[in-house]
Every structure is written in C-alpha cells, then in structure tokens.
C-alpha cells in the first residue's frame, strides 16, 4: 500500500498503460476532506427531495411485497403458477438470481482484499450492503415456497415428534446451512467494517440524537492501536473465511440442481458455471447501483473511471466463463449420446421456450462482448445499459435452467407447461422494491464508502496541522481546543 504512493512506482504504473493510468482516488484529497465528503451524505440535515422521491417509489414495491405475501399465506402456494411437474418456478429462479447478485459484494470485499486490490476500497461498503439486501430477498423465496413459513424450523436440526431428524444427505439441507451461514457472515463482515466509521459519525455528528445513535452502534470505538491490531486480524480472517464461503454457497445452490437426475440439471459443469454466473450478475448489479450513485452524490473523486473499468473487465471475464458453461452444456448433451440429454438441449434451443434461450445468449454472451472496447467500459451510459442487460440475461438463464428442464423431463405423460401468475410477478417486483428501499435507507443513514479504508489511500498526515499554532500545554479539564 505504501509502495503505490512512491512517485517512481506511480510513474511505472503510468507507463503500464490501461491498467494503472486511472487513479483509484482523485488527487488532492486529505484525511479530513475524505471524512467530510463521505460523512456529509449522512449528516446533512436537509433530506434531498430526489432521495425521498426514490424511497417513496421503492416503497410501492414494499406494498406489492406485503400484498402478495399476505395473499400467498391466506391461499397457499396454489396462487402461484407452479404445478405438479414444475414445482420450482419463480420462487427458485428468483432465489438463485438474488443470491447470485449478492456474491459480487463478497467477492469485492473479501477476495479483492486478499489479492491486495486497492480499487476495492471505495466500493466494498456499498457492495456488501447490496449483498446483505440481496441475500435477504433471496431468503424470502425458499421460506415462502415451503408454503407455511412458520414451520420453517423443520429445516433446523431438531427432531420431530417421532424423533426423525432432517435428512443430512440432501443438498436442500446443505443449502439451509450454506445460505444461513452466508447471511450471518456477510452481516458480521459488514458490521465489523462499519465500526470505525460509526465512531467517526459519532464524533462528527452535531445533533445529540445522531451522536447517541451512532455512539451506541460504534460500541465505544476509539481507534486505539491495540484495538486496530485485533481489528485487522479479525477483518483479514473474515475475508479469508468469506472467500471459500462464497464459492461454497453457490456451489451448494448448484448441487440443488446437479445432485438430482433431471436432464439439464445433472451435470458436473454446474458448480463452477453457477459461481461464475453469480459473480457476473453481481458485478452487473454493483454497476447498476454505483453508476447513478456516484453521479447523484458527487462521488466521482472516489468511485473513479478506474473502478468502472475494472468492474467491466471482471464482468467480461466472468461472462466468458459463463459462455463456456453454455457451450459445455450443449457439448455434454451431444457427447453423452443420452437421448434425454439430447432432447433437453434440443428443447431449450428450438422448443417452446426458444426465445428465452436465445435471448439469454444475446444478453449474456453477445452484447457484453462490447466490453472489449475501452471506450465502452469508460462510458458510464453504455456500461450502465450493459449492466441492465446482464441482469436480465442472468434472470433468463435461471428461468431456462429451472423451467425448461422441469417442463420436459423423462415421460411425456409428466410434461407440463409453466406460466407464472400475477402473484409470482408481484412477489418478484416486491423483492426488487424491498431491495432498493433498503439500499436507499442505507445511503442516507450509513456511510456508503468505507471512510477509514479510504484514509489509507492518502498520506497519513493532516496538512492543515501547523506546529506551534495549537501547541498549548493545558490543564483545563474540559479540553482546551474548540
């Protein structure tokens, strides 16, 4: 980290061209300017009208969420489009889509930390918040899909009245442990990262209740060297734990499919292909959130073109892995010679749902190839549009995997069509609303950028501190300084 500030190293980086010529932070920032700029978003007394309007708009989604959940609980899962053959439908599509989105946050905060990538610093906080809210949305679907969520504790390792336990050889139970661990660890990681910034907010806040609220949340953090020492150990180990965890979570999600014998699901390519797809869609969502965020809140000094460029590159790379997955799926089907596998891929490409399949190829494979061009990566408008396209494409991918495989499995007598109902759609829209509602609240009440980590990117010096000016030896118990 220190090395990057060395002028010789910077010059070397400038010569390295595209990789390093865009700064991770605009020049001229100091410890105090970083602190003031980021905390002012939280501590300003006037609430921006645009923020209130956005929150109100997102809260209409909450309304849909409440209505669709209430109707579901009153009537049962029959209000959804699922049937005997296609038992998974929207609930599982949306579960996989949301949890995949969450994975980019963990990748940015944990894996890029271990790889010592400085550019993660200004985006990790918001990306982790995104993870948390996305996992909350994801969790709702399996919970509601069980039909009677108040009995969800049947999934916990508790014997029933006849002494039978949940089945530990089932990937569905592995998923319960993987997702709940992931949610817990993501929340711990996020809160741990927030503690020093909450202390900053406590000290910067003028209003007594803001001071008290942040003071309570900051746990009395005071930046002692001994505390930082343990903090750094805990944070680094959390990153080290989250890295295999995030890979395991989407691997286990893919096991839900791959361990079954359904054609189109039963493939060894699924775990790596699911993990890459998760990171792909997650980076798309990070860009969808960050591009407007940085212009609305004037954070272009901190979330620079370098960040957009790098995130676009990660998207391009993971997108290519996903494309490889699509090719391999088709190849396996052909090479296996198994009639059911061949029928499956034939149905996906040329069957009733062919439009979804080719739309996902267009959205996930073809359009993102534009990211090879630096001009496209550095243009926020095109990048934003591509991120939306990938979000849609990755949703379609899960639709194709879940629905087309179940619609046409082994026996024609077990074939059925799946059509989502308005309640399916409303619940999905509801979770999108919930996600943005939570994210808008986060923007207003917590620092969207990790202040203390940003401080490590500038010289650890206060240029305004002049020797002798404030140097008074005081025995005043209230403290001599204003």
């Amino acid at each position: 980290m220190q090395a990057a500030k060395d002028p010789a190293v910077q010059e070397h980086h400038a010569l390295a061209g595209d990789r390093q010529d865009l700064p991770v932070i605009a020049p001229g920032h100091t410890l105090s300017s970083i602190t003031d700029k980021i905390t002012s978003i939280v501590l300003r007394r006037d609430t921006p009208l645009a923020w209130a309007a956005s929150l109100a708009f997102a809260s209409t989604g909450l309304f849909f969420l409440a209505i669709s959940i209430a109707w579901l609980l009153a009537k049962g899962t029959g209000v959804w489009g699922i049937n005997n053959e296609v038992g998974w439908g929207f609930a599982i599509i949306n579960f996989v889509w949301w949890i995949g989105i969450g994975h980019a946050g963990t990748l940015i905060s944990a894996i890029l930390l271990l790889l010592n990538q400085q550019w993660r610093t200004s985006i990790n906080r918001a990306a982790e918040a995104m993870t948390l809210f996305a996992v909350a949305c994801a969790g709702m679907f399996p919970l509601l899909h069980v039909g009677r969520p108040w009995l969800a504790f049947w999934l916990f390792p508790i014997p029933n009245t006849m002494g039978v336990w949940p089945q530990f050889r089932s990937p569905l139970l592995w998923d319960v442990f993987a997702v709940s661990t992931y949610a817990t660890v993501s929340a711990l990681f996020w809160f741990t990262g927030l503690i020093p910034d909450l202390a900053t907010l406590r000290d910067q806040a003028k209003h007594i209740w803001a001071k008290r609220a942040f003071g309570m949340l900051a746990l009395g953090w005071r930046g002692a060297a001994k505390h930082w020492e343990r903090y750094e150990v805990a944070y680094l180990i959390l990153a080290g734990l989250s890295t295999p965890l995030v890979v395991s979570v989407h691997t286990v999600v893919s096991f839900d499919f791959a361990v079954s014998i359904v054609p189109g699901w039963h493939a060894t390519i699924l775990p790596p292909y699911f993990v890459a797809g998760a990171i792909y869609s997650g980076f798309a969502m990070v860009l969808t959130l960050m591009i407007p965020l940085r212009s609305v809140y004037g954070l272009k000094d901190f979330i620079t073109d370098r960040h957009l460029n790098n995130m676009a590159k990660v998207m391009l790379a993971t997108g290519l892995i996903v494309a490889y997955g699509y090719v391999m799926e088709a190849f396996y089907a052909w090479y296996s010679g198994a009639p059911y596998e061949l029928a499956m891929i034939n149905n996906r490409m040329f069957g009733d749902a062919w439009k979804s399949y080719w739309a996902l190829i267009l959205f996930n494979v073809l359009i993102p190839q534009l990211l090879w061009f630096r001009k496209v990566r550095l243009n926020p408008v095109t990048l934003f549009m591509i991120s939306i396209v990938v979000n849609i494409g990755m949703w379609l991918e899960r639709y194709v995997i879940v629905v087309t495989s179940l619609e046409r499995d082994f026996m024609p007598s077990a074939w059925a069509d799946y059509y989502p109902t308005k309640w399916d759609v409303m619940l999905y829209v509801g979770t999108v609303g919930f996600f943005f509602f939570a994210f808008f609240l986060f923007i207003r009440f917590l620092p969207v950028i990790a202040v203390f980590e940003m401080r490590t990117l500038v010289p650890a010096r206060d240029p305004s501190a002049k020797k002798g000016v404030g140097a008074t030896t005081s025995s005043n118990k209230e403290g001599a300084h204003p």
Partner: protein, 179 residues
C-alpha cells in the same frame, strides 16, 4: 499533586501525522512508560509494533473454527448413525462425504463468530464511557489527527514528567484527561 492522581486518567498529546506519532511512541517507550496507548483514524501497524502490542486473536479463531468443524461433523454423525439411523437408498449410515458441506459451513460460521465477538470482547467493547471521551480534542482521533496517551495508572507516572516527555515530541497539543 498526590490528591489529584486518582481523578486523572492520563496525559494526552495530539499529532498531525502518523510519522510523528510513531516517533513519539518510540520516545515514550524509551523513557520507560508501559501503560501507553496510541489512537489513530486509520490502522497503523507501525504504531502497534512501536508500542509492542501483540494479539492472540488468531489462535482463538482457530479454536472456534475447530469447535465448529467438530460440532458440525459430530452432530451429523451422531444423528445419522446413533440417534436415528435411516436407510436412504442403501447408503451406509456413516456416509461421511455427504456430511462435508455442513461441516465446512459450521467451521466458517463458528470462526467468523469467534473473530467478531472475540475482537469486540478482547477490545473491551462495547464501552459507552471512556475517560478519553472527556477530551474535546479527542473527537479528531476519528477524523484526521493522531493521539498518544500516557496513562496515570503507569507505575512510573508523574504528571510533570509525563508532560515533559510528551512536549519533547513536538505535539500540536498536550492536555490532561480527567476520569
């Protein structure tokens, strides 16, 4: 002098840069003080080294992780082999490969909980009140300034002497912090 000691927490010095703080830490340690703590708005490993801080948190986390692994594997084995053996597709009761996923998740869960709870507990947090919060200057410790405190609990502590040592490090400010 003597009657004041119980009400005094320590003497606090403020610095404008991390380098000055590191320098001051070394000088105060060299003067023989033991109960000394530095405060900064960002993690500074050099300061921890200068003050001789170490932590055993990582060993604690390792123990937490091992507990998680044993709990996860033990729970599944006990349930599937001893408490209610259930024949699923003719697999052996002790079908350990299928227990690996949950064992791993429990390892991560226990380690992460140990890391965060351990960090907070060893740091003595939550601690809503601390004498240093009596200092108005100390609010800058979470913004842009660096602080060093010689605590009155130090066996060698003498108010005049401590002030003199801190003043010799050319701080921006030296002040007494009451309890």
């Amino acid at each position: 002098m003597h009657h004041e000691t119980p009400t005094l927490y320590g003497v606090l010095a403020e610095f404008g840069s991390a380098d000055e703080l590191v320098e001051a830490c070394k000088r105060v340690k060299a003067a023989g003080y033991e109960k000394v703590e530095a405060y900064s708005p960002l993690p500074l490993p050099e300061v921890g080294h200068a003050l001789g801080h170490t932590t055993k948190l990582s060993s604690l986390i390792f123990c937490g992780g091992m507990t998680g692994a044993l709990t996860g594997f033990g729970m599944q084995t006990w349930i599937s082999v001893i408490d209610y053996p259930l024949n699923v597709g003719g697999r052996p009761f002790f079908s350990w490969p299928s227990f690996i996923v949950i064992t791993f998740e429990m390892t991560v869960l226990f380690s992460a909980l140990t890391a965060v709870i351990g960090m907070i507990a060893l740091n003595g947090l939550p601690q809503p009140y601390h004498p240093l919060f009596n200092s108005a200057a100390f609010e800058r410790a979470s913004r842009n300034r660096f602080f060093l405190c010689i605590e009155a609990a130090d066996p060698r502590f003498d108010l005049a002497e401590a002030k003199k040592v801190l003043a010799s490090t050319q701080p921006l400010l030296v002040e007494e912090v009451p309890h």
